[in-house]
């Protein structure tokens, strides 16, 4: 029985439960506490939810559990030269998968496989179901794969029994409790509430997932690589033969520098745009210009990245590069801090402007009136009353924009270059934390090498930086809003 069939079965059971529950109270002539359908729903929920939860947990946990069990049985002599226990383990699970597929296609009978079977034949069978082995099939590994298949089959069987049993038990229990005096609606609504709470809790779970997933790999990384080099070293020079220098500082410099350029573009333009829109623009201008500016925010970052790579970078190089219009040779590559930073700045303009616009609009009209009443011009009012009043909110908005710039990936991947160094020249290429995460995780390196794992340490650092910025920014904005509510 496949997992899908099992799922369908408990759904069917739940549907039957609904009708059975409803029928049971309907057939009695006593007055009901709740509408009949709540009695039906009560039975259905009891049959469905516990079974479903167990099913999900089982599906998630059993591969991990089985993997651990098998891993503990891998002995040193099974590991080929240059390989690792992890590779053997993944071989085992791939062979097991192939065996299962072969059995499903009727090519082999699982019961017949043992070490007397010709290994070459077996390899062919595996190949036909899409499992290609790098080297020769090690009989020990095959044995492990066989016991893995057995264990998996047993686990699956056990899961079916438990899930179905639970569904039935829930059904019977709930059906037994249903009677006209029973407060079915309240029970059903409690269950709904539980589901709602679970959904809200997913946010916490996601954050926990982010932190934990990166934390574990980061700890692995620090076991392989010196923490001091990561945080305080001065070089980023990954080397897939080992002995890499993996320091975050040059990357952090690139990230901050590019973000700074982006903010230098986005903050003045965005802020003045917001001031103009909220204080000066007529209704018609506002209704046209504001959505048009916001279009800039809706354009996917890949578009900006492409723009930086293909249009803006070469444009800058035409001016500042070798043989450029300015006759200076300041720019070697089209990819540079300025390329990525300015394009990112364009992307952030609407981000700054709409946040600031909201914040400026939240400044009470009474303050403006007070200033006009004293004979201040509009710009004096804006500069000396509105902006100071809105300052905390605007600072919050700029911090949010900064966190966006720091975490931005596509524009820097395509436009910033890949050279990690400390340079102050905005026309030179630099690299950032996000680009290195991408390149370390999409490279061909072994997953458990420090060169790959460093991506998790970088990711965690990035997460912590942006989280800190966000928390501070949101706190400031929140306080600011409360002030004028």
């Amino acid at each position: 029985m496949s997992t899908f069939t099992l799922f369908c079965l408990i759904v069917v059971l739940a549907v039957i439960g609904f009708f059975a529950g409803r029928h049971k109270v309907n057939s009695q002539s006593k007055p009901l506490h709740s509408l009949p359908r709540y009695y039906g729903t009560y039975v259905a929920l009891f049959a469905f939810i516990p079974a479903l939860l167990v099913l999900l947990v089982w599906l998630l946990a059993s591969p991990i559990f089985l993997g651990k069990t098998i891993a503990s049985q891998i002995t040193a002599d099974m590991i080929p030269e240059g390989g690792s226990a992890e590779l053997v383990l993944s071989d085992v699970s791939r062979i097991a998968q192939g065996l299962r597929a072969g059995a499903d296609n009727g090519l082999i009978l699982t019961e017949n496989i043992n070490d007397t079977v010709n290994l070459a034949v077996l390899a062919d069978v595996l190949a036909s179901s899409g499992v290609f082995l790098g080297g020769e099939l090690n009989p020990d590994v095959l044995q492990l794969a066989l016991s893995y298949t057995d264990a998996a089959a047993f686990s699956h069987f056990l899961m079916i029994c438990v899930v179905l049993g639970l569904a039935m038990a829930g059904f019977v229990f709930a059906y037994g409790r249903v009677n006209p005096e029973f407060w079915a609606r309240n029970r059903v609504e409690q269950t709904y509430l539980g589901v709602l709470i679970l959904a809200a809790g997913l946010a916490i779970l996601t954050t926990a997932g982010i932190v934990l997933s990166m934390l574990f790999e980061t700890i692995n990384f620090f076991q392989l690589h010196e923490m001091r080099d990561f945080f305080f070293g001065l070089n980023w020079a990954p080397n897939f033969h080992g002995d890499s220098e993996l320091s975050i500082l040059p990357l952090l410099w690139g990230t901050l520098y590019i973000s700074l350029v982006a903010l230098l573009v986005a903050v003045p333009v965005g802020l003045f745009a917001a001031i103009y829109l909220s204080e000066y623009a007529s209704k018609t201008v506002r209704s046209v210009a504001k959505p048009l500016l916001e279009v800039l925010a809706g354009i996917p970052t890949i578009v900006y990245g492409l723009f930086a790579l293909i249009t803006f970078g070469p444009f800058l190089k035409d001016w500042f590069g070798d043989g450029g219009f300015l006759g200076v040779n300041w720019m070697g590559d089209a990819r540079s801090v300025a390329t990525a930073g300015i394009v990112m700045g364009i992307m952030l303009i609407p981000f700054v402007s709409s946040l600031s616009d909201d914040i400026i609009n939240a400044v009470p009209q009474a303050l403006r009136d007070g200033s006009y009443g004293l004979g201040a011009t509009q710009s004096e009012t804006v500069k000396q009353v509105v902006l100071p009043a809105a300052l905390p909110g605007i600072v919050g908005a700029i911090l949010l924009a900064a966190s966006r710039a720091i975490g931005e990936t596509m524009i820097v991947v395509l436009g910033a270059g890949a050279i990690a160094r400390f340079t102050g020249n905005p026309l030179e290429a630099l690299t950032t934390i996000t680009t290195r995460i991408v390149s370390q995780l999409t490279g061909d390196g072994d997953f458990n090498s420090p060169e790959t794992l460093v991506a998790f340490a970088l990711g965690l650092t990035l997460f912590v930086i942006t989280l800190a910025l966000n928390i501070v920014a949101l706190y400031i904005v929140r306080k600011y809003r409360e002030q004028y509510e």
């Binding site: 609606r185 946010a203 997933s213 210009a289 996917p300 492409l306 004096e380 991947v413 395509l414 995780l441």
Partner: protein
Amino acid sequence: MTASAKSKSLYDVSDHTKRRNAAEKRFRRYGQGAIMIGLLMLCMLVYTIVSKGTGAFQQTFVTLNVELLESKLDKKGNRDIEDIKKVTTFGYAPLINTAMEAAVSDHGVQSDLKSKEMAKIISKSAPAVMRDLVIADPSLIGQTVELKFLANSWIDGYLKGRVTRDSIANNKNVSSEQLDFVDLMVDAGVIYKGFNLNFILGADASDQRPEDAGIGVAMLGSLAMMVVVLVLALPIGVAASIYLEEFAPKNRITDIIEVNIANLAAVPSIVFGILGLAVFINTMELPQSAPLVGGLVLTLMTLPTIIISTRAALKAVPPSIRSAALGIGASKMQSVFHHVLPLAAPGILTGTIIGLAQALGETAPLLLIGMIGYIASNMPETIAQGFLSPNSAMPAQIYEWAKRADPAFYERAWGGIIILLVFLVTMNTIAVLLRRRFERRW
């Protein structure tokens, strides 16, 4: 009190006031300038996209009458499909050379090029196209059929003005003699530009054949991801919002959840990619590059957006509606599901569409779960395959093209962006229309 306005007539505008008014004008102009800069940037982007991308929707074709020689394709002459399949694409290539020669003499074109050189202007995909055709219908063998081949990307670029004789001076792939030949063939009507449906519906091709690359398969990948996002993010997001907005007690835990959601909305998307890689692929062992995984990652990313907009929509429903329902004896749950939720539905829908549009254009997390670097050359055959077998997604495909050094792929990338933007504009327009249509002021 030097500049005191007190003694003077109102009709005299003092110098001080004049200076202030000049400053006022300047300030105003800064504001206008900022708006202009923003709009200018938008125009520049749109112009770049349109001017560079529209080329991808046009493609250069070569029409040839090809005689599918029995002696080459089915030597035994028994039309046994297995024997026909044994003829590789190499067996088909000479047919094209012959057909090209025939076309040249038919149209009276004079050229010193050898037929092999002439045939090189046709895409490397041509023999495979012919082979597929013959295998699908072996009865064609022995006949002469008119076939429309793709010209290779250099020729295509030449007709679109991307490739010039200067730019190919040291190019091994194409010679200026070939371009002369192409000019003649264009005049003869054998080579011409036409609408490129294959770009919209087709599959990606290897980096040898930019002319054959299409975004259709990646589009399916994106579609599958959007289905996953919609199916998961909408119900979970709405459920979470209902709890937080209607039921949650005001306490520390609720506070933490709220701060958490606000922060998740601002977490860099690449971090979600790392999460997806670590949790979905490494721990749960879901297949790499699968739209299902992409969809799950994007779901987590979109959830905060949907929750925030749903809560705003719920908040906009006035409390009097809730009181009215509670007043006639509805339970809290009933008042929410029967009254508040339907009234908030347009707002929720709008927020969801905007969240989906964001997810559709997102690239960074897809990089990490392996939807990049994969050549999406096969259409998924079943729905399950659509979700589980490796695929790309539109923005990932665009990135992939942007990375390939050949400028012919840049054109594809911009063209892909046009298609992506058409989807985004459509979605956002629907959202705006929905908002207008159902906007309600209490």
